[in-house]
Symmetry: D2
């Protein structure tokens, strides 16, 4: 089999060896199913060290699962979720939020992928009006889908706005580790301390095999979560093997090491590209680089480096491409790419 | 950590070493996400060797996922699924079939867990009558929830009944490997050759970490499946690691070796128990033993052997317990249990 | 156009002249839409005189609407409703409870159409168990689908059982007026005073054009009701014309006069039929008569009297038929039918 | 009771006397329920005279019902509906399209309430991509929510675009009669002849008590419609009384007389307002006038004329108000209002 590496997605990277070792280590004897096992208890403790001791932590299989379970736990079918037009929940989950989580999505234009109170406020209408779906959640992706990162302060402003309306703030944190590293802070700073109520805590993109966590804070915590997770098909029977991955990732600093590598490599790629005169479309805060490349070189580069075109024909003879670095991206690969530009 | 083993569930057993090795082997370089990778292609081929070359095979995370995705792919919201009162989809999936797959369930009493045409027929009413949900699927579990197994001929009778009404036959095959071994046949005999239209092909209970397959046959095959799977939150991003498990299980005969061990150990347990005068409640066709034990010994036995009470106070001073053997159950464990009786 | 009358259904009867007059009377000037009008306020008062001053009353279009809105207002998607196998919500609403109200239905055999604590209790399992849909509502039809009537005491026993489990009691009262007349009591006796939490209060079958009410009692009352009703498509824009019908029906005693006629005519029909040696299948408590008629006379009788066969071939050469009397059934019609027997 | 009239909504007007007479006329003898009666057959014929003899016509209670039933009949849960940001289905149906019809809505900015191919095309992406909800329907309101009207040619362009992508065109025709009159044409011109596939045919706003029709054209016709309507709670039991209203409206030209009056009065209002120097915000094609009025006169005018503020503070010291004329609006009322300006 042909072995290759590239900049297509952090989902293209494999499993970090320490994660695989933790799975193997958990593979001893029997364990109670569905999370009633010591690995799950340990993984919850490990995650709580990063989100607060009183957070409700529940493991699921994947990102769509985390988003739908988290939103369904706090919304009723006549409530709506305000999100960016480019939000993963709006464009890349095949209407799972609408049909599995039973929420209405209200998309808002967000030029650089990030919501602000100013962008959100026009959508906060119709409270108490039975004809209108009731705004209940502001949802942001951190890292955003355009590679930009919200600071704790920016999140706090959105949380304050949400709370002032009796609403909640949800963070799709598929790349929350990259955001935490990018802001020089911690996951805690970008979640609990910023007033976040519901978090989809990503693991898969940062070096796990499969696994995300739904984290509920404060008044968003609810016993309903268990039923929502089960009904949504997101309750793993042999949970210890999801949990073991979180132990490997969050008991020590593997989450940070992996994200730091990805972010550092993205920075290196940007600097190299800028040296070559390439235009970068959005601030590269974390591990995603959106660049405008000449149309006549894209195909050849893709053959070698496996990245995706994002939007064609944006500027004359140039298209927007997305380059994603991963926990396993090396400087050699980045330098090869820059040379190839 | 205390290491123990028992008869609580085949979900309590860990991952077979060959499965874990296959995961590790797949962990090299990058791979396209969401199933567009060589491991997935290879796993589909491996599964097709057991269900027919033209079957549509799609991998999901867990059993509830397989059942809901399979049923949603072939049903509309006004269609219903006839199942046994004891069916996993009726009692153990927290209404996921109703709310994620959007089907109505119509339960039918089935004393030994198995449906027959006679049991099903009274529920096949209201065709063409707009007030009545339209019967569309007969769903059976093979192995059934009471440990009994359908033969190919029994399935064929149900398939013929279904097809005569324009309906489909679904098999919840969380333990289809055990059923295949039990009937001395193959998975093909119990699915395609028996007229089955939709199969939830189990992997997890038979020694995998996490992974099941939705298999659609003949006219049930549909391009809609991809959207259903994604929307249901059952599309794994790093699919190669689900696929690698299926490669390990179905390219060779690991599926059969594991199920054979489980079934053999159940037989050994039954024979030992019968020698001790224990009453067995249902035919032990595969790897589940339902036994009536004296109430005053159950707690002590559970402490040592980790099994579940199923229904209390069924007979005077006795209760029904469920004992499940697994791919890793040993003769020593079974003999210990029998001695302890 | 051929004008006929018969015993097919109380839905076959037309609109009582007083109801039509009330609609015409409300047709003056403009009125605010969606219930913010004086007729609606007056109709709510009129209904409250029969269900208690603090009941929450909300008008909808039809019976399926009332049942789904009422159940959706008090249930979450992982909660279930225990009902009789023969319940209208189970057999005659095309899975609207499952897909519009988002509840799971758990049917229970009920030989004469009525639930009892003994019949319901086996279904009250799995509380707190995340795999199992959580029992939340016991739902009965009064009058039942087999023409039998629950007394206040029978309802109280079911309500006590429900409340002891943290559950609610729902009454599908499409024919609650007939039940109230049958028990010599009032609607209040069969609802609030019996511990009922959610009522579908029927109007259409008792002489209205179209209109039912959802009534919530005590802790079941909720501001969510407005959103549920709107989302379910059950909010009438020109609400005054639904409301006017309730004014006509419940400000005076029209509801009682209509139901009394229907019940009296059913009694007359039963007595006549018994005289002719016809076997009556269930106690005729209200306005539905289930009778076993010889197969060779049914078709001829149906031609003249427009009733439905209910179940064929129940006894040798006889089938079960349903005869329904209405607010407009006359003694002459009944006597004609009896003579024709 | 205080009798008033105003410009709040065509839902504030009552029932046209000819409609009420038709209801009374249908109130004779018994009739089969659920549409199996001669009035319904006659009403279907009457409607088909305006939409084509082979159109599938099905009556429902209200506008939300018509939209959800029509969309559910032609969409699967992973399909999406492109609509204007201001569309009634997006803003005024409390997420019924998402949760009752199971579609995803993708809103598109439309400055004057009308979609064009240019506005729609950017949303037509992701075909065949399992992560993306599949675009299936373009939905427009005619009359639009801002009072503008699509011509047959404009609809044809949208239909051609839809069909070129394998999609359908839906028209929310709550005010289709007003649109037909406005374009000097017929309902046929604005529906079947323009390539429309799914129509919500309005009746209530144009002088009926309650009633709309779902109309499916060509390949959109489907036997599923009956189940969708029943499950959605939109099947009236005493259907003859919905049908009789359609007979009154569409056998003759009542639909046209009513809409003509409303449109004419709106034109008169506009001309009067323009004379007074009032700025009109959108082209007044039918019976809705959006005007910018000084903030300090609005409350006083509302007291007398019962209209709604639409958006506040749009221009300095002025707000946008909506004035709607109805089938029963008189020239005297309009002139009074203009004088009061």
């Amino acid at each position: 089999m042909d072995i290759w590496r590239g900049f297509g997605s952090d989902n293209h990277a494999g499993v970090h060896p320490e994660v695989l070792a933790a799975i193997a280590e958990a593979n001893v004897g029997h364990a109670h199913a569905y999370g009633d096992d010591p690995w799950t208890a340990r993984a919850v403790r490990a995650v709580r060290a990063h989100v607060g001791d009183d957070a409700q932590v529940s493991f699921v299989f994947n990102g769509t699962g985390a988003n739908t379970v988290g939103l369904a736990a706090v919304c009723r079918p006549w409530e709506s979720v305000i999100c960016a037009e480019s939000a993963h929940i709006m464009t890349d989950e095949c209407a799972a939020p609408e049909h599995i989580a039973n929420v209405k999505l209200v998309p808002v234009p967000a030029p650089d992928g990030k919501l602000t109170p100013e962008l959100v406020e026009p959508a906060l209408t119709g409270f108490g009006f039975e004809h209108h779906s009731q705004p209940k959640v502001i949802s942001v992706s951190n890292v955003s889908e355009l590679g930009t990162v919200y600071t704790g302060r920016e999140l706090r402003e959105l949380a304050d706005l949400a709370h002032s309306k009796g609403m909640l703030l949800h963070v799709d944190g598929a790349r929350i580790a990259n955001a935490a590293v990018a802001t020089g802070g911690s996951i805690l700073t970008l979640t609990r301390e910023a007033g976040v109520d519901v978090l989809s805590l990503g693991g898969t993109k940062n070096g796990m095999l499969a696994g995300e966590a739904v984290v509920l804070f404060g008044s968003a915590r609810t016993d309903d979560l268990a039923y929502v997770r089960k009904q949504s098909g997101q309750l793993s029977s042999k949970m210890r093997f999801i949990a073991a991955q979180f132990v490997a990732m969050f008991e020590g600093d593997l989450w940070r090491r992996n994200a730091t590598n990805a972010n550092t490599m993205a920075r290196r790629l940007v600097e190299g590209a800028l040296d070559k005169g390439v235009e970068i479309a959005f601030p590269v805060d974390a591990n995603e680089v959106f660049a405008l490349l000449p149309d006549d070189v894209i195909a050849e580069l893709q053959d070698r480096f496996h990245f995706y075109a994002w939007e064609e024909g944006l500027a004359e003879n140039r298209s927007l491409v997305r380059l994603v670095t991963s926990w396993d991206t090396t400087g050699v690969e980045v330098d090869d790419f820059v040379r190839a530009l």
